[in-house]
Each structure stands twice: as structure tokens, then as C-alpha cells.
């Protein structure tokens, strides 16, 4: 590709991202009353969207592979247990990440 073509491609990716982020705000502008059904969705969707995101992070884990997704499952179990116990965001993230790095670098190489 030429430089112009590269820049156009980047612009298209930028445009696509902007469309997915702005569309709900364009369809349901602040000035007009949002339909009751959309208000309901806006209220109940957030927890489901967070759940979707957690699973989305695991989308490329190969549970049939040699490690059977164990590093991910062990580290996530640790984060969950630690977080219910200590409720300390940074501690949970740091411990989970260090545990995961140790697992993939030394045990499931």
C-alpha cells in the first residue's frame, strides 16, 4: 500500500470505532425522551456487559490444548477469592497477574 492508502485504512478503522461508540447516542439523543424499553436496557445491561467482557478476555484460550486453560482458571480463581476476602482492587490485580505470569513462564511453558 502507498502512504495515502495506509492513512485511508487507518481512517476507516477510526471511523468504524467511532460509529460503534456514537450510534446509541445518535439514535437516542439527550434532548428527546428515550423509549421506556431502551431506558430499561440501559439500566439492566451494564452488569451483563461486564460479564460479556470477562468472557471476551478468555476468547482465545484453548481449553483443549496442553494447558487446558488452567493458568487462566487458576489465576482468575485467585483474583476472585482474594477480592472477596480483601476487597483491594490493586492487590487482586497484582496477585492475579504475578500468579499468571509464574504459571505460563515456569509451569505451563
Amino acid at each position: 500500500m502507498t502512504l495515502t492508502q495506509l492513512l485511508i485504512t487507518i481512517a476507516m478503522v477510526s471511523l468504524g470505532t467511532i460509529i460503534t461508540r456514537f450510534l446509541p447516542f445518535i439514535l437516542f439523543p439527550a434532548g428527546r425522551t428515550t423509549p421506556k424499553y431502551i431506558q430499561y436496557l440501559g439500566r439492566v445491561l451494564p452488569p451483563a456487559a461486564l460479564g460479556l467482557l470477562v468472557i471476551y478476555c478468555l476468547k482465545d484460550v484453548d481449553f483443549a490444548g496442553a494447558a487446558h486453560g488452567l493458568p487462566e482458571l487458576i489465576a482468575m480463581a485467585l483474583v476472585t477469592a482474594l477480592h472477596f476476602w480483601k476487597k483491594n482492587t490493586l492487590l487482586s490485580i497484582a496477585a492475579g497477574t504475578v500468579c499468571y505470569m509464574a504459571l505460563v513462564q515456569f509451569m505451563f511453558v
Binding site: 478503522v13 470505532t17 460503534t20 447516542f25 439492566v44 452488569p47 451483563a48 460479556l52 478476555c57 482468575m76
Partner: protein
Amino acid sequence: MDKGARAAALRAAFPHTVPVMTGYLFLGTAYGIFMKTSGFPWWFPMLTSITVFAGAMEFVTVNLLLQAFNPLNALALTLMVNARHLFYGLAMLERYREAGRKKLYMIFGLTDETFSVNLTAEPPAGVDRQWFMFFITLLDHSYWVTGATLGGIFGSLIQFNARGLDFMMTALLLVIFLNNWMHEKHHWSSLIGLTVTVAARLLFSAATFVIPAMIGIIGALTLLRAPLQRISDERTGGAS
């Protein structure tokens, strides 16, 4: 809004962005290195991280840039990869309503991580919520751009075994999910989000499961509208 109030919002926002800072600086640097070693000039990662600001999609973009020129394909692929952002917009309609002109930037910067933090972080009393969320967005964006630019410039000089460090983002999103779980009135929506997405991933490939998952989640929440509204009405004493 005067300067003092903006500074207060920035100070209140910063601690909430520390986990994202660590993750974005690392992943951004990895992205910059990846782009540099794929043969692009150092300012390409800077340009894409400023104009796109969607982590996963930027890694995909590197592959797009290495293929034959096909702008419509690039647009279609982006819409598919980033379709999950439609949910974030719907969830933030009310929260961003009063943001005024800075709302445009806050919507532009609505990444997975920024969405999660802005959805759940509470500003301290007296701090303007809209500026608080604006600065969380701006700080997150600046971390990502900084990482990508440093990666593009110094990329090949960095040598350390960072294998597995990207798990930090998974841990962050899991912690945000758990924080929300501990505070929510009922777990129906959380459980629907988890189970429907797992089911969709079992039925579809890693590249195609998000849109079926989103449709399934909307479907389940629509079917459960009457009981879920009754639950929230009971808990809040009839006010909706």
C-alpha cells in the same frame, strides 16, 4: 466550571486509573513494538493510538495494513470487532447525559476499560461527576498513546520476559465485574452476561461469537423485563 473544580476532578480521577495505567503502558508499548517490527515508521503507532483508541482493534489494524488496500473491508471488520461498544453506549446514555461538549470526547474514548471504570467508580463528595469521568477517559487515552509511542521509538531496545503480563487487563475487568457483583441488588444481569457469552463462544468461533452473544443477552433481558422491573421496583420502594 472553574479551574479549581477541574483540578479536583483530575486528582479524584487519577487513583481510579492506576490499574489501567499499568496495563495500557505495557500493552501500548507491546503494540508499538509490534507495529515497528512489522515495518511501519515510529509515528504510526502514535497516530493509530490517538485516532482509534481501541486496543484489540489496533492489533488487528496492523494485519489490515499489511494486506492489499481494501477500505470497505477495513470498515466492516472494525464494525464487527467493536460491536460490543454499542452496549457501552446504551449503558452510558443516562450517565453521560449532562456532560455537555466534553461528551463527544468521552464517547470517542469509551474503551472496554474506560467504560468499566466510569460505570463503577464513584467520585468523592463535592467532585463534579462529568469532569471526573472526562479525566478518567483522558488519562486512559494518554497512557495508551504514551505506551504506543514509546514502543514505536524504543521498541527493539526493551528485553525482558513479559510473557503473561497482558493478563493484567483480564484481572482488572474481572475485579470490576466482582466489585459490581458485590454491590448490585440482584445477580440476574451479571449471570446472563456470563452464561449467554459462554454459550455463544461454545457455539461460535472466537472471531464471530460476540454479536450472537449480544443478541442473546438482549433477548434474555427482554424476556425477563417484567420480573426484573418488579424486583427493582420492590427494592427501591416503587420508584423507577
